[in-house]
């Protein structure tokens, strides 16, 4: 396949070539035989070979015109050769020169996307996907042994130990590496050796402390079909021509003496749009596959195509659910109801939008969490289960300083990313326990508003300075707090600890010890991802009975049951059915949904009586 991609660009043609690759990639194991930029360090990969890259479209640059076909002239022999510029960054001339006045030149258009690895992708995902990594046939033996990802993971694990002596940190506890304070500037300056060299270059990852290659993906057709924040698996030709870097370096060196008309593009813009190819490789897209999930344990094709896999998982679902429920109950201090809701939350998904209303979102507010260290542990457990997640400590400092909403940087002409630029299905863990007394400044207020909008409408208004633009998103937000959260939520449940405060410390430390075997973890992981992807419907019969139920409930107590409650109960019923692997609503599920909602409400009532400060 590599040979094919390197074959003479003048032969055959475009449509056929793309078709060829698409056909091959459809074959079952073909995708696995292509090395992935996510796992394989760049220097192992051969330039101009076929690679794949699992990524998120972070920014879209302006379309560019390139020479689709050009003619070169050998100065000695005057021989003219027609060449193709597609899937290439630099013209190939050798000794000959490009004839700019040739009438055979064809100008074509292509679009550039700036892609980053899926933000918040958890270590286990990387680990598992890199197990199946393909080491490409390379002509040279690497002289420098890179730190493997396994080691990275260990390192990450060490980092994730709660480090109380540190000040509350902007990002995850993982980024212990860099100092506090000026977090925006240092976003990408992770301490690892891998990224040390990139310190002068802001790779614009949405989340602080991320690492991995970012890529300029050149798209040749149908670029209108791609949307910002789409997750894709791109198959394309890697281009790391040193000529591109030469260009960048030279720019830096000679910028002072340049003709003013040349410096129209500011240095920042240059740096962003033409970063050295060794850091930000170019990828010429042949084919892209939308990624519906980034769980490497699931087959990458859609579920419908994999009926065997689907049926086997479905049959197991009920039992896995029971196990998971026990596990969560244990973690949530013996609270089975909260555990149930946590499962529902983790499989929620915005499946549709009706004009402005997102359907299917299920933001959970877990109130009554004991201590800060507990929430951190809880996050670690969730991190082990979902493919991508992010921990946002809502400390005052974080709220006032972090850039949550992406903002257009007109100087560099790019979209400076923010924490809320996340791929869909990412779990966002908001730790409100970290919030202390103090004052939110303008940024803080804006950040809190942005979080509120995210939860209520599942959209983020990106800041384009002169106007705002709305981008829909699909993020599972879990808020842990002591009392009721200051942010809106679809559902609030107060944690009822079965553990006496005296034993709390002991219990907490035992939680972390109680790690699951990896096979069981994998089962949970598959379960959560599959449940989210299932289809769902309600039969006419059930519709009728739900309606009747609602009318009856309203009759009994019109004050306490509102349209809002019906909304929520329908979502709960849906998630409950899906969590059991049922693709349509059954009477039992509906009753069960009603039941747990009632339990939850009565608990809230109780709590209200005790506290008396509920709004």
């Amino acid at each position: 396949m590599f040979a094919a991609s390197q074959s003479d660009p003048n032969s055959g043609w475009e449509a056929k070539a793309v078709e060829f690759f698409k056909d091959h990639l459809k074959e079952k194991d073909a995708p696995t035989s292509v090395p992935s930029l996510n796992d394989v360090p760049l220097h192992y990969l051969k330039p101009n070979s076929l690679v794949k890259f699992r990524c998120l479209i972070q920014d879209m640059f302006d379309p560019e015109f390139y020479m689709g076909v050009y003619e070169t002239v050998d100065p000695a022999t005057k021989a003219k050769v027609l060449r193709c510029g597609k899937y290439k960054d630099v013209t190939e001339c050798g000794v000959s020169r490009v004839d700019f006045n040739s009438r055979n030149t064809v100008t074509a258009e292509r679009q550039t996307f700036y892609c980053v690895p899926i933000p918040g992708e958890n270590p286990w995902v990387k680990e598992i996907s890199s197990l199946s990594r393909v080491v490409p046939s390379t002509s040279y033996a690497p002289t420098r042994q890179k730190r493997s990802y396994e080691e990275d993971d260990e390192m990450d694990d060490m980092d994730t130990q709660p480090q109380k002596q540190r000040e509350p940190h902007p990002g995850m506890t993982q980024n212990v590496g860099h100092g506090n304070g000026d977090c925006k500037r240092q976003e990408t300056e992770a301490p690892s050796s891998q990224t040390a060299s990139t310190s002068h270059l802001d790779l614009n990852f949405p989340l602080p402390g991320e690492k991995g290659p970012s890529c300029l993906v050149k798209v040749y057709e149908n670029w209108d079909n791609f949307k910002l924040n789409d997750t894709l698996e791109v198959y394309g030709i890697l281009s790391v021509s040193p000529a591109l870097s030469a260009l960048a370096d030279e720019k830096d060196a000679s910028s002072s003496i340049m003709d003013p008309t040349e410096s129209m593009e500011t240095a920042e813009e240059q740096r962003v749009h033409c970063p050295p190819a060794s850091l930000v490789p170019r990828l010429h897209m042949l084919h892209a596959r939308p990624v519906s999930h980034n769980n490497p344990l699931l087959p990458s094709a859609t579920l419908e195509d994999n009926s065997a896999f689907l049926s086997s998982t479905l049959s197991e679902m009920a039992s896995v659910r029971a196990e998971l429920l026990t596990y969560f109950t244990h973690i949530l201090l013996g609270d089975a109801l909260a555990a149930e809701y946590l499962i529902l939350h983790l499989i929620s998904n915005v499946y549709s939008r009706r004009d402005v209303l997102p359907l299917g979102k299920f933001t959970l507010n877990l109130s009554g969490c004991p201590t800060a260290s507990y929430t951190e542990r809880l996050y670690q457990i969730i991190q082990q289960l979902v493919p991508s997640s992010y921990y946002l400590g809502m400390s005052l400092q974080n709220m006032n300083q972090m850039r949550l909403v992406p903002k257009k940087d007109y100087v560099a002409n790019r979209l400076a990313s923010g924490v809320l630029q996340l791929a869909r299905h990412t779990s966002l863990f908001l730790d409100e326990i970290q919030l202390e007394q103090g004052q939110l400044d303008t940024t803080g207020v804006r950040n809190v508003t942005a979080l509120g909008n995210l939860i209520t409408w599942q959209k983020v208004d990106y800041d384009f300075n002169y106007h705002q633009m709305e981008f829909p998103c699909n993020i599972n937000v879990l808020i842990v707090s002591e009392g009721r959260s200051l942010l809106p939520s679809d559902c609030q449940i107060h944690l009822q600890s079965q553990v006496t405060p005296a034993n709390m410390e002991e219990y907490l430390s035992s939680i972390h010890m109680h790690t699951q075997t990896s096979s069981q973890l994998n089962k949970f992981r598959i379960y959560l991802s599959v449940a989210r992807l299932l289809d769902y419907n309600i039969s006419d019969e059930m519709t009728k009975s739900v309606e009747d139920d609602f009318v009856d409930m309203r009759k009994d107590d019109p004050q306490s049951v509102s349209a809002e409650d019906l909304h929520r109960m329908l979502v709960v019923a849906r998630l409950l059915s899906l969590s059991l692997g049922q693709t349509s609503l059954s009477r039992d599920s509906w009753l069960r949904a009603k039941h747990i909602d009632m339990l939850r409400r009565s608990r809230m009532e109780q709590h209200k009586c005790v506290n008396g400060n509920e709004p």
Partner: protein, 829 residues
């Protein structure tokens, strides 16, 4: 790219590919050798008169024809280019510039915005020339409006008058610019495809015409033709390689402007030894410094004298797609525009402009040493004309900005839709389909979206009448008020959404800040100004602070906003419709209280709302059932099913935009009669019980609503049915919000004075009773407050609340009968 090969505005780019230095072959030609060029049947293209300024300017037609009639097939275009005169003609280098200009001293300067001519077009420039001349002499603007052509006779040829203006007023001294609305189809086509060739021809024609008519006048600069509105305004996104080197008009928003860049056109060198001076033209962005003085043969003795060199102004402007043009889920594109000479500093960041210019592409070079070239072009637009689309927004209604271009088909569909008898119901049900019922509220909002007709009474001193309909929604929490607001905000192009809790007075109006780049004080406009001609949605209206709310008084009736801060005193237009949502003060609506008491808003503000709707939970079984059905179906019906049922949001948006732009209904005779009757009726209802139930403000509301309803029907006339619906809706809203909970009657006084007439009556009765009580007590100059209250309670048959007692006391105090100090009541007199 240290080699400054691409001087985009530079004149010579692309004409001379002979290397200046042996190592670098100039990759300078714009990539317009597209396949299109191959269409020409003549095989080898005719070399073009590369410098129209000299070749064609001379009116000697034979020269022209010889150029076209004698193709020189053996000559490579490059070589021809070599011999052509320099584009930036200087007085010394080009004597014969503009016709007769050599004599009159009008320097002919090649326009930097047009750049060079590189290849021969299939255009007969000669005939173009005469067509254009005729056009200039005869063109009468059929769509002329007063603003732009003030003082011109509309029946005389427009451009001839403009030329006269030039002479008599010498309006512009830097460059005389004729703005030309492209009119003639023939010219249009050739101009779009070959702007670089055709526009200079037009320039010539204008100049020649000018000197023919006014042979004695002297112009410092040439007259330039600036065409605008090329064929149609295009979207930035639709630009493609086909457009390179063609005249385009795109719209966008300025996001950055660079510093002014003086671009050297001609360098002046002087020998240090013998003071011999020489001029060197810029060659592709480079000045070749003469090594040897030609006069005294000293080597390396020449020094550049800056202030005798010739520079031209240049500026880079970056424009971005306007948010309306963008498909959802994509980021806006940006394009670089170069402005030259007098266009420099014409636009500021934030301006929305239509720009006409020539689209260019320049190859990028990797390095001067390597022969490899990056196979990518840099694109930009050389601006010929800017037109600000929001220029007039501060002064009057801007029709241009709102004018959406509708295709014929679209207009047809809209008109068909309008012809349907139930269009009103259809549209209102298409509004926020996910929100259940509340039909009347949706209808009210629909009418708000359309708005009334604008009336101008400035001449009679009454100012503008408000055409916007303001609506207040109040009701129980969780009745999807916010959702409705959010929907409206998403529907209208110029909508703003704020929350009362989060907005301050300055956030709504405007604030002054220091621009970080220019360090100048700039006025940043707030939500109300931004939603001029749109709708401002304010959620949690009741949570707004009083000072913030007071801003709204002016906006909601006068539709202006006066600002006096930091030395900036101005009045901005804020012709915005306000859609507000408020929660009752006790979180649940108390049906025993009036609207005012429930939401605690000042009645001065409330009376400015045309319609006040209550969104209450009806608590009725049939309703519950329908609601449940609606919600459940929301959750399981597929997207397609839903879409069939309701009108598309895009159709609705277009429908509203079309009606707002083109329909301006006037009251018909019957309608006015009906309105008068309606008003009289409303007054009558109250007069029977001794209260006023309608004020002129209500009449105005009725008129607005009737007009809006006529707009929904695409009718130019307000008819009786419109009035009927307006009356019905108004009554519905009144019934909900202005019903006196004690009597059950509709009482407009609740909204206008904040107190129902019965309440006022009771207050008076209490005051009288109190007065009697005090008088009965005899001559006690001071009384205890509490005792008085108890006495009054004992005496009165109706319950006397403390509030009522206080009000009675206040009423008596107003009569100067007594004063209240602390807990004692003293009699006066």
């Amino acid at each position: 790219m240290s080699s400054p090969t691409s001087t985009p505005g530079g004149c010579k780019r692309g004409r001379n590919t002979n290397p200046a230095t042996p190592s670098s072959e100039g990759p300078t030609s714009p990539p317009s050798q597209r396949r299109r060029g191959q269409d020409s049947s003549t095989g080898d293209l005719m070399p073009m008169p590369t410098s129209p300024a000299t070749d064609i300017l001379s009116p000697a037609a034979p020269q022209d024809t010889s150029l076209f009639s004698s193709p020189r097939p053996s000559v490579q275009p490059n070589e021809v280019d070599m011999s052509s005169p320099l584009m930036y003609g200087t007085p010394s280098s080009r004597v014969e510039g503009t016709p007769r200009s050599g004599v009159r001293g009008t320097p002919a300067r090649q326009r930097p915005d047009l750049g060079s001519v590189r290849k021969a077009p299939q255009v007969d420039l000669h005939s173009e020339y005469f067509i254009f001349l005729r056009f200039l002499q005869r063109f009468i603007d059929p769509t002329s409006n007063e603003d732009e052509n003030a003082g011109l006779d509309l029946n005389e040829p427009l451009y001839m008058q403009k030329l006269e203006e030039v002479v008599y007023l010498s309006v512009l001294n830097s460059a005389v610019v004729i703005l030309l609305y492209i009119f003639c189809i023939l010219m249009l086509i050739s101009k779009i495809f070959f702007p670089q060739e055709v526009i200079p021809t037009f320039d010539m024609a204008v100049n020649e015409l000018f000197f023919e008519r006014f042979p004695d006048s002297i112009l410092e600069f040439q007259i330039q033709v600036r065409p605008y509105n090329a064929l149609k305004t295009r979207n930035m996104r639709s630009l493609n390689p086909e457009d390179i080197d063609q005249l385009i008009t795109i719209s966008g928003m300025v996001i950055r402007t660079s510093q002014l860049i003086p671009e050297m056109q001609e360098a002046f060198f002087q020998c240090q030894v013998c003071a011999y001076s020489t001029r060197v033209e810029v060659d592709r962005g480079r000045i070749a410094e003469p090594a040897v003085c030609r006069h005294c043969n000293t080597t390396h003795s020449l020094a550049l004298v800056h202030n005798r060199s010739v520079f031209s102004d240049k500026q880079m402007v970056k424009i971005q797609e306007s948010p309306e043009d963008m498909p959802a889920g994509q980021t806006p594109h940006t394009t670089i525009v170069y402005a030259h000479n007098d266009l420099v500093d014409k636009v500021q960041p934030g301006d929305r402009i239509n720009i006409t210019g020539i689209y260019r592409a320049v190859p990028m070079r990797v390095s001067p040493i390597q022969s490899n070239v990056k196979s990518v072009y840099k694109t930009h637009i050389d601006a010929i004309h800017f037109r600000k689309t929001d220029e007039k927004r501060l002064h009057g209604v801007d029709d241009d900005a709102d004018q959406k271009l509708f295709t014929e088909d679209r207009v047809q569909t809209l008109k068909e839709l309008a012809a349907k008898p139930d269009v009103y119901e259809r549209l209102s049900s298409a509004l926020a389909p996910s929100i259940y019922e509340h039909e009347d509220i949706k209808k009210g909002i629909l009418l708000q979206l359309f708005g009334g007709s604008r009336k101008d009474f400035t001449q009679t001193g009454r100012g503008n009448f408000r055409a916007e309909v303001n609506i207040l929604l109040c009701g129980d929490p969780g009745t999807s008020k916010s959702q409705l607001l959010q929907y409206v905000f998403n529907l209208v192009p110029r909508g703003q959404y704020t929350s009362g809790k989060g907005s301050s007075a300055v956030g709504l109006t405007a604030y002054v800040m220091k621009d970080p780049e220019t360090r100048q004080l700039v006025l940043q406009t707030g939500a109300l100004v931004l939603s001029d001609n749109g709708i401002c949605c304010i959620d949690e209206f009741d949570k707004m602070s009083d000072s913030t709310r007071s801003v709204l008084h002016e906006v909601m009736e006068q539709q202006t906003l006066s600002i006096a801060k930091a030395g900036i005193i101005c009045q901005l237009n804020a012709r915005t419709a306000v859609l507000a949502a408020a929660n009752p003060i006790e979180s649940q609506w108390n049906p025993k209280k009036t609207t005012i008491e429930n939401i605690q808003l000042p009645h001065t503000l409330l009376s400015r709302f045309d319609l006040i709707f209550l969104m209450l939970d009806p608590q009725d079984e049939a309703y519950d059932r329908r609601l449940a059905h609606h919600l459940v179906s929301l959750y399981y019906q597929s997207e397609e099913q839903m879409e069939e049922e309701f009108l598309d949001m895009a159709v609705l948006r277009d429908y509203i935009a079309y009606a707002r732009t083109y329909i301006n209904p006037r009251l018909s005779e019957e309608a006015s009669q009906a309105l008068i009757e309606a008003y009289v009726d409303m007054r009558k209802i109250g007069s029977g019980r001794g209260m006023v139930s309608a004020y002129p403000r209500q009449l105005e509301s009725l008129i607005r609503l009737a007009e809006a309803h006529a707009k929904v029907r695409f009718s130019e006339k307000v008819e009786t049915i419109d009035v009927e619906e307006a009356k019905r809706l108004h009554r519905e809203a009144l019934k909900q919000s202005a019903t006196d909970p004690r009597t059950g009657f509709v009482d407009i006084a609740i909204l206008t004075t904040g107190m129902s007439a019965t309440a006022r009556k009771r207050k008076e009765e209490a005051a009288q009773a109190l007065k009697k009580l005090i008088q009965a007590k005899g001559k006690t100059p001071a009384m205890k407050y509490h005792q008085l209250l108890d006495d009054l309670r004992g005496q009165s048959e109706t319950a006397i609340t403390k509030e009522l007692f206080d009000e009675a006391l206040r009423a008596l105090a107003d009569e100067d009968y007594l004063t209240v100090t602390g807990k004692t009541v003293r009699l006066l007199a």
